[in-house]
Symmetry: C2
Subunit: 424 residues, 2 copies
Amino acid sequence: MTKETAVSVLELGRRARAAAATLATVPRGVKDAALGAMADALVRRTHEVLRTNDADIARARDASTPDHLIDRLTLNERRVAGMAQGLREMAALPDPVGEVLRGSLLPNGLELRQIRVPLGVVGIIYEARPNVTADAAGLCLKAGNAVLLRGSSSARSSNEAIVGVLRDAVVTVGLPADAIQLVDASTRDSVKELMRARGLVDVLIPRGGADLIRSVVEDSTVPVIETGVGNCHVYVDAAADLSMALAIVLNAKTQRPSVCNAAESLLVHEAVAAEFLAAALPALREAGVTVHGDPAVADAGRLAGVDVVPADEADYATEYLSLDLSAAVVGSLDEAIVHIRRYGSSHTEAIVTGSQAAARRFVAEVDAAAVVVNASTRFTDGGEFGFGAEIGISTQKLHARGPMGLPELTSTKYVVVGDGHIRN
Amino acid sequence: MTKETAVSVLELGRRARAAAATLATVPRGVKDAALGAMADALVRRTHEVLRTNDADIARARDASTPDHLIDRLTLNERRVAGMAQGLREMAALPDPVGEVLRGSLLPNGLELRQIRVPLGVVGIIYEARPNVTADAAGLCLKAGNAVLLRGSSSARSSNEAIVGVLRDAVVTVGLPADAIQLVDASTRDSVKELMRARGLVDVLIPRGGADLIRSVVEDSTVPVIETGVGNCHVYVDAAADLSMALAIVLNAKTQRPSVCNAAESLLVHEAVAAEFLAAALPALREAGVTVHGDPAVADAGRLAGVDVVPADEADYATEYLSLDLSAAVVGSLDEAIVHIRRYGSSHTEAIVTGSQAAARRFVAEVDAAAVVVNASTRFTDGGEFGFGAEIGISTQKLHARGPMGLPELTSTKYVVVGDGHIRN
């Protein structure tokens, strides 16, 4: 099996490279027509997709999969229609390919332009949700890339059906079916083979839990874009409007706790800690949140009659993705910044303050993909930022940082035009 | 020794991180003053630098190092003055940090800006030339990064002296000495430790031969920017001005054969092969070039009375970096593009043609950092492109592609400002 999988991923890679060479020079009209055909086909063949999804769900139930994971796996007419709608919205976005990023006439008369070009072959490794299959395929195609999709084995029947529908659709507008390929999800070996397919795969984007991302980052010889681990903080400054701060903390923690831009940790300046926590701890309890606090937070909890779990080092470093929140009282803005540098994952960090000086320092000194002043951490999102769909949120510093839309799925090329120029 | 080196690189990394936090928020004026102080100090302490360089040269002679490598290693007053001049020119370049790349007022009233920020800690691994030490230190500092410099062991005394001078200089303007640190070059272990210093080092840039770059790319868990391997082609199209083509081929091959943007391979369309090669082969011989050709080129050589070495697969894949040139006759533009896709290193590829259609197709279909029409491959260079000094030429597609100046030594950050915004 190992050997067969190995050959197979490399062969998929070779087919993807050939498809990428075609896609690289396809004009926008054809790509948008493909996205439209993909959307239409998904709607038309919804029942076929739902039938295979039933098979995945049955297998998941047999394996005693928890309900919330079965919910993530489940498709229905509305969700398939949502996938189709997403593809149609991508067609409406500008084509990043061919954009001239800069250009000049050099002193010697050479014309220089830097233009956007596709990356080539993009590998995406992702977990349960089958709607990612259509999103990722659409975004990669619009940016002129061939994609290798490695979904989770629990969604393999649904993913096979969706990819089959999409491949049939791109062929109808004259594009190669191999623009979109599914990688065998029945074994871990296919992930390893993807990570070693240097020269065939231009970039790997792992989307999922911290363990998946760490293993890909450490073992891949293919360049990787790290995504989505968010240990996000909300810092309530001495100069904060405390009712604004409470609304932001509640929203950042509870509006959707399972996602990477949810808050995981609360820092409160000691000057406002007593007053803020007296209101915040009961409100958090009301919202179902368990607070893991330092001794100062625990003291405030006792006064407010709210249980606070004692926090240890591990709590401050944890991305709970649940209705848990670590909390600490800090003596100063500096202490908050030092805490965030130590425990943060450089995803999204927020300050609530009325002080221009504090906001300016926080923005300058906190090193993260997104730094937020007086708003919820939940806004770090391609859709919220107006980029359209996103392929993930990069938490690394190279190439792309923060929500990644179409431009982040491209590279660049310099074009130099002369009339016989030689160098002296 | 291994153990000590390991501790030492990690400790250097921690000091670099601390320095990077300071550098990230230093305004341009201070950084430019540091560059000026660095330049002044190099000039003032030239003799000290040259004395240590003598020690490196003596050691190299004892090791029977070839003359051309000793030349690369050798500093003199003029070369040190050149290093100082390079630093002064960096001071005159715009500061990339803080540049607002895009921004908008979102529909909900949130202000969104994407700004340039430093990468953090940059590791540079490089070979003989000690002038790279000052160049790399200056560029990293101007872009707000702390740098870890791992030069070659043959230049270690010179590098220690230069780094000592530069560290003393940055302190005079109030910046931390650890903005610039030299990594022990006496053992290979320090390279390995740099490659594993994930979390301390943000990016590694190897500059040097193909073997060094390959080993760093394959073994590093720190993100890498691949640089500088160039198997560059000049394709002489059926519609080429043949005298322009000859001038370009001679320039691209012979003007400086040891560098990555020199041409290594010549492709000639069969329609002009006889006429072009009849002139080109004698001219190349005159310039000292050995041509490794396919049978068609060999035939042309016999007619012109010029010896052609038979070329094999390996020749077409080789970056000679010498006065050798592989050559082949191709039946069409398509065949040339296929050949370049197969053997090229995606550095710089040139076409000589009078045909707009051929130029347009070559530019669109050849996938390389730089695609050149009717000019020498030698122009792919930060200085020539008007970027000022360059830290290297990236041949990868992520983050930076082509000559890397100051903007390529930065990342970005999103700044989101609201007045109590929460997400529904």
